[in-house]
């Protein structure tokens, strides 16, 4: 039952001390936040710190979330800010040291873990896409996936443009990955 509860109910219950509600709330967005942090090519350790910090910020603000139905947007904004913070902390000078929250063009995270050549090609093709498509697709492949309304909040887009953008991005991806039938 907790799994289907609205964010408003879960936030209120968690604020009142209900640990189950807290777990449900956190589980709902962990994959989404992880995908977001990894999109900016943070190391796994840095990305984990971003996700954990974002959760702890939520915990600290449970009583103060003005509109729990805007929670996905709040979390994504918090995570984005923390991505920038962790990328600049520490004692290791970063190449260029000019993190601008734009995906780079290195290999896709974990690409070498994919044994199937077609899987690896598809995963690599996603990483070569422009920022708007990458952001949307990486968001939509979260587990559990966000609703279109949540995706719209996170990306600052109109709900009505999520579907058409998804379609357009997937068409491009199909072509980039050679899955559009043009080569068969």
């Amino acid at each position: 039952v907790v799994d289907d509860a609205s964010n408003s109910k879960l936030v209120a219950a968690a604020a009142a001390g209900d640990e189950e509600a807290w777990s449900a709330l956190v589980d709902r967005y962990t994959s989404l936040l992880w995908n977001q942090a990894r999109q900016y090519r943070l190391t796994p350790a840095d990305a984990a710190d971003v996700v954990q910090t974002t959760r702890l910020r939520l915990l600290e603000n449970l009583d103060r979330i003005a509109d729990p139905e805007r929670l996905p947007g709040w979390l994504a904004t918090t995570a984005r800010r923390e991505c920038m913070r962790v990328s600049r902390r520490g004692d290791i000078p970063r190449p260029g040291d000019d993190f601008t929250a734009i995906p780079d063009d290195g290999p896709a995270p974990g690409e070498r873990l994919l044994r199937d050549e077609r899987d690896a090609a598809l995963w690599a093709a996603l990483a070569t896409m422009g920022e708007p498509c990458q952001r949307l697709l990486r968001l939509l492949i979260s587990d559990p996936p966000p609703s279109y309304a949540e995706a719209a909040q996170i990306l600052n887009m109109k709900v009505g443009s999520i579907g058409p953008t998804r379609q357009r991005c997937l068409k491009t991806l199909r072509r980039l990955a050679g899955l559009d039938g043009s080569e068969s």
Binding site: L56, E60, R89, L137, I141, D180, G181
Partner: protein, 167 residues
């Protein structure tokens, strides 16, 4: 990856995958290539114990790491300590964070109030306490990197915590 000849559609059926099939396949690949770490999943529930409803939260108002980025200053990473400032009401906590690979040393000062003790909590690690010296200065060495919160006991009985900040 460029120039690779892909071999037809999903499952080799020659039919291009539908939008939903492609999304499902990408979700599976994300789970294989870049899964959420197990430690992060198990840390979710444990984090709830870190809730501190009675403490006043001092918000992070300045972070030299981020300020430098916003000013497009090419900060010399690794040479200057990072400066963090937290504030609530008239109370301020200023910290200097020195990084040595995965360890962090913190030297800080609480002003606008009198602290009797300070402890550093790093999520998923042990809590480290420090004495507070003259003028509110304190030093904490050898913290692991990770999300950090300082918890200060004030002389008037109140508890003050800093907003969680990754160091």
């Amino acid at each position: 990856m460029t120039g690779r000849q892909a071999t037809g559609g999903c499952g080799g059926a020659g039919r291009p995958p539908s939008d939903d099939e492609l999304i499902t396949r990408l979700r599976r690949l994300a789970g294989q290539a870049d899964p959420v770490p197990e430690s992060l999943l198990s840390a979710a529930r444990a984090a709830f114990a870190l809730r501190d409803v009675d403490a006043r939260v001092a918000e992070l108002v300045r972070d030299s790491a981020v300020d430098a980025a916003q000013l497009a200053v090419r900060a010399a990473a690794g040479t200057d300590p990072r400066m963090l400032s937290f504030e609530t009401g008239g109370t301020t906590i200023e910290c200097e964070v020195m990084a040595r690979s995965d360890q962090r040393d913190i030297r800080g000062q609480l002003s606008g109030g009198e602290a009797t003790s300070v402890e550093a909590q790093v999520a998923g690690a042990a809590t480290v306490s420090a004495d507070v010296g003259a003028h509110g200065w304190f030093t904490i060495r050898g913290l692991p990197a990770g999300p950090l919160r300082l918890r200060c006991q004030l002389a008037d009985g109140a508890t003050l915590v800093t907003s969680w900040t990754p160091v």
